[in-house]
């Protein structure tokens, strides 16, 4: 019967407190949900529990004994197992072989396959976790089946505490039901199940108690029975606007933005996109953006935002539906063709998708095919033009750098983002797709970027703002949609819309 106590757990990463003196007392035989937005600290806390990270301060007590986990293996030995969002299974090996690897034993041990299969089936029956084909390679199984293998693996290795990280993120509704059946059965057998999620409906269905984290500290721990969906939502997404540490700039106003209706710069109609394993990562998404308006797309990371951005810039093809960029639909959309229609993208991951870190700043300012052709028609790349353009942008966008020849890798995050934005805006786009444009930036940089976007709008551009930062969405948007599990909910007016949008983000509300 596991009894797990966390006392004043603290962990910092380069001076930012990811987990701030969190204390929770878990007990055996419960399903305990840990809720929070992106960056609230839930994953970090669980990584501390499962031995991947080490505590800076605080204690972990398991069954009355103080524990120190120096590695995941140590945590496993103590009986704590984590089922990650991205499975730790070896794809070409079979179910039985994967489970075998999790069992204790030395290298010489023979793999007795038929005995192993029987053992796996016995385990499956014992725990009530159905495994159809223990002999099948794991990669041929459905995502739900793979998750069951992960669970079985953990249990076979004698875990008594199971930590599940966003387990329903990759499941179909049917698979979710199956999972919950299994979890209830395990709970009855006395296991402790910790369930990380941002989806409120699930918490209401499956959990006994919940804990909410916000910016690294614990907001509250309560019984689920004592709470309604909207209470939960407002606890997670604070109403008073202190869910983020950055106050909204009162000087920024959207009053100056005047959308020109009936001149859409982007029109998305009934679009569905398939991800791996044939699941629809975007389902029947429809919205349009007019010149002069900012359409905000809110949501917790992992609900289709990445795919939406890739779709809009031409790196993904929909299985259904059409997209019109400036009134043009393209037969075979490529980023080059779309950018030629005056579309720019500020990608969500500047280091991977927005910059070539080994190239110079001034070269990164040219990493946009349509900008290249407008700036320098012809074959050549005259260095004076490049330098002059770079110097212009450095001044205009306040990029702090020793020189335009400095490598992008040497710039700070904020300055790197300024380079990306300078470049994308310099192409004079009519449509700007901005994905988490102020991620990882300080207040000053954030306000600056927000003002830039508003200015562009005033001059007739349309913006799609995909962001996991609700404050940013509310500050800038003319209208707000919410992505939840690939579906687009809304639109909602940003004024007084915080609660509604918060509920949509967490699934507490499916329609406006």
């Amino acid at each position: 019967m596991p009894d797990l106590l966390l006392r004043e757990i603290t962990k910092a990463f380069s001076q930012v407190l990811a987990v701030d003196h969190v204390s929770i007392h878990f007990s055996a035989g419960e399903i305990h949900a840990v809720l929070g937005e992106n960056g609230a600290g839930k994953s970090t806390l669980m990584h501390l529990l499962s031995g991947l990270y080490q505590l800076d301060a605080g204690e972990i007590w398991l069954n009355g004994k103080r524990q120190v986990f120096s590695s995941p293996r140590a945590a496993n030995t103590a009986g704590i197992a984590m089922v990650h969002q991205h499975f730790m299974l070896v794809p070409p090996l079979t179910v039985a072989e994967n489970i075998f690897l999790a069992l204790p034993g030395n290298g010489r041990e023979w793999v007795r396959r038929s005995a192993l299969v029987k053992r796996v089936q016995a385990l499956a029956t014992h725990y009530g976790i159905p495994v159809d084909s223990p002999d099948a390679p794991v990669m041929t199984l459905s995502v739900g089946a793979q998750q069951r293998v992960e669970l079985l693996k953990a249990l076979a290795a004698s875990a008594r505490v199971l930590i599940l990280d966003e387990p329903t993120a990759v499941l179909t509704p049917g698979e979710v039901e199956n999972l919950f059946l299994i979890l209830r059965r395990l709970k009855d057998q006395g296991y402790l199940i910790i369930f990380i999620t941002h989806k409120i409906p699930e918490v209401l269905i499956i959990a006994d108690r919940f804990s909410i984290l916000r910016q690294g500290h614990l907001v509250t721990t309560r019984e689920v029975a004592t709470c309604t969906a909207s209470e939960l939502a407002s606890l997670m997404v604070d109403e008073q606007g202190i869910s983020s540490s950055r106050p909204i700039n009162p000087q920024l106003s959207t009053n100056e933005v005047s959308p020109q209706l009936h001149s859409p710069v982007l029109s998305v109609e009934g679009v569905s996109v398939q991800g791996e394993s044939k699941r629809n990562v975007l389902r029947d998404v429809s919205f349009s953006v007019n010149a002069g308006e900012i359409v905000g797309i809110a949501g917790v990371d992992g609900n289709g935002q990445t795919e939406l951005a890739e779709l809009l810039i031409g790196l993904r093809v929909p299985v259904q539906g059409t997209i019109h960029w400036q009134g043009q639909s393209l037969a075979k959309p490529t980023p080059a063709k779309i950018r030629a229609s005056q579309v720019s993208l500020i990608p969500q991951d500047r280091r991977q998708e927005g910059l070539a870190l080994t190239l110079a700043l001034e070269e990164n300012l040219l990493l946009n095919i349509s900008l290249l052709s407008t700036l320098t028609p012809g074959v050549l790349l005259p260095p004076q033009k490049v330098r002059h353009f770079a110097e212009e942008q450095i001044v205009q966008f306040g990029i702090q750098t020793a020189s335009p020849t400095q490598l992008a890798a040497a710039l700070s995050g904020g300055n790197q983002q300024r380079v990306v934005i300078a470049r994308e805006l310099a192409a004079n786009p009519k449509l700007i797709i901005a994905a988490n444009p102020s991620r990882g930036l300080d207040i000053g940089a954030t306000h600056y970027i927000h003002q830039l976007l508003l200015d562009r709008c005033r001059y007739g551009a349309g913006v799609v703002l995909i962001s996991t930062d609700l404050d940013e969405i509310l500050t800038l948007s003319t209208r707000v949609y919410t992505l939840y599990q690939g579906q687009l909910l809304g639109p909602v007016e940003p004024v007084d819309g915080r609660q509604t949008i918060g509920q949509m983000m967490t699934g507490a509300r499916i329609s406006p």
Binding site: I313, L315, T334, P335, A336, I338, R339, L345, P347, Q352, E353, G354, L355, A356, L357, T358, L359, E363, L366, L367, N368, I369, S370, L372, T376, G378, V379, L380, L381, P382, P383, Q400, T401, A402, T405, Q406, L407, A410, L411, S412, N415
Partner: protein, 349 residues
């Protein structure tokens, strides 16, 4: 420390480490460190003739080094420079036969084009195998290198054999197709300054044209390049073909400028040394020039090693390999982090 020095440092350190290791090895084996290194030095730059020999040895290394460097900028490995070099030489020997009636001003560009085309063709074989059948280009280019060597052997024993039929070699290239000697009686030929021009051309292409920029972006970060609208796969293919053409040209120039005929074992591993040159040159055309000169000097000096120091001339390949190994080690993130941890970085952020 400035950016320039930071970039050159790993190569310089590698050079010093390699020399130190070789010196240690020599000392352990009872060889004379002093006479070895002085033999190399004198052999490379001891007198005017020796200096021109260094230049002559540098020439093919510079072309092929540029070829490998070009491909690397696009993020592709061209291990097939050796085979492309041989095909270029063969093409030159073959086409050259027919240029007897032409003036050198016409004959030389013709054979150079043949060499370029042959190199491009040989590279395209590997490229097609990759695109159509997913064949790993590192293995396919190496196989093509061996096939090319056997092809040369076949040609010089057969269809391209000299008219006298005595030795396995082609006829001498007609005088019109030979690159003029610049400083008789040395072997310094027009191909050497042309190599410098080639380095300039490659530099210009990579750093002053949009096509070159797209190529470098594809190699620097293919994901970001795709987001930017660049057709990354296309850029990589083009780079690979250009690289092959340049390596082919190297072979043609070597025939036209120095050997004037093709024979068995025509290449002494230029294509593989080229990889070392490109890496030591830290992927900048100027760096490749310096690296090629350095390696060329080593090759030129190698001849004196046996005579003056009693050490086999092959020691030079050991030096080259050791240098690249040290460079590979010093360029890793692990080493960079260790180095940066010991130094306070003054790059502003």
């Amino acid at each position: 420390m400035t950016l320039r020095i930071a970039r050159v440092l790993p190569a310089l350190l590698a050079l010093v480490s390699a020399f130190a290791t070789i010196a240690l090895g020599l000392w352990i084996c009872g060889g004379s460190v002093g006479s070895t290194f002085s033999a190399l030095l004198l052999g490379a730059v001891g007198d005017t003739y020796r200096i021109t020999e260094t230049a002559v040895k540098t020439c093919p290394l510079l072309y092929t080094g540029l070829a490998v460097m070009l491909a690397l900028h696009a993020g592709v490995w061209n291990i097939g420079a050796e085979g492309q070099f041989l095909l270029g030489a063969l093409a030159t020997a073959w086409v050259g036969q027919y240029t007897t009636a032409l003036a050198p001003v016409i004959a030389i560009p013709i054979i150079c084009s043949a060499a370029l085309g042959a190199g491009l063709f040989w590279a395209s074989c590997a490229l097609i195998l990759k695109k159509k059948r997913g064949v790993n280009e590192v293995i396919s280019t190496i196989m093509l290198n061996f096939i090319a060597a056997n092809l040369v052997s076949y040609c010089v024993h057969g269809p391209l054999m000299e008219t006298q039929g005595q030795y396995p070699q082609t006829d001498l290239l007609p005088t019109t197709a030979r690159l003029p000697r610049l400083l008789p009686p040395t072997r310094l030929h027009l191909g050497v300054p042309l190599a410098l021009l080639a380095a300039l051309a490659v530099w210009f292409f990579l750093f002053r044209t949009k096509a070159g920029f797209r190529l470098r972006a594809s190699g620097a970060n293919p994901t970001a390049a795709r987001f930017a609208g660049i057709h990354v796969d296309q850029e990589m293919s083009v780079a690979f073909l250009l690289s092959g053409a340049l390596a082919g040209l190297a072979g043609g120039i070597e025939v036209s400028g120095i050997t004037q005929r093709v024979y068995e074992r025509f290449s002494s591993g230029y294509g593989y040394t080229a990889i070392a040159v490109a890496l030591v040159g830290q992927r900048s055309p100027l760096g490749v020039v310096f690296a090629a000169v350095f390696f060329g000097a080593l090759e030129a000096g190698a001849g004196s090693l046996q005579r003056e120091a009693g050490v086999s001339s092959v020691l030079v390949s050991v030096m080259q390999a050791t240098m690249v190994l040290f460079l590979a080690a010093y360029s890793t993130d692990t080493m960079q982090r260790w180095w940066r941890g010991r130094m306070k970085s003054d790059i502003s952020s």
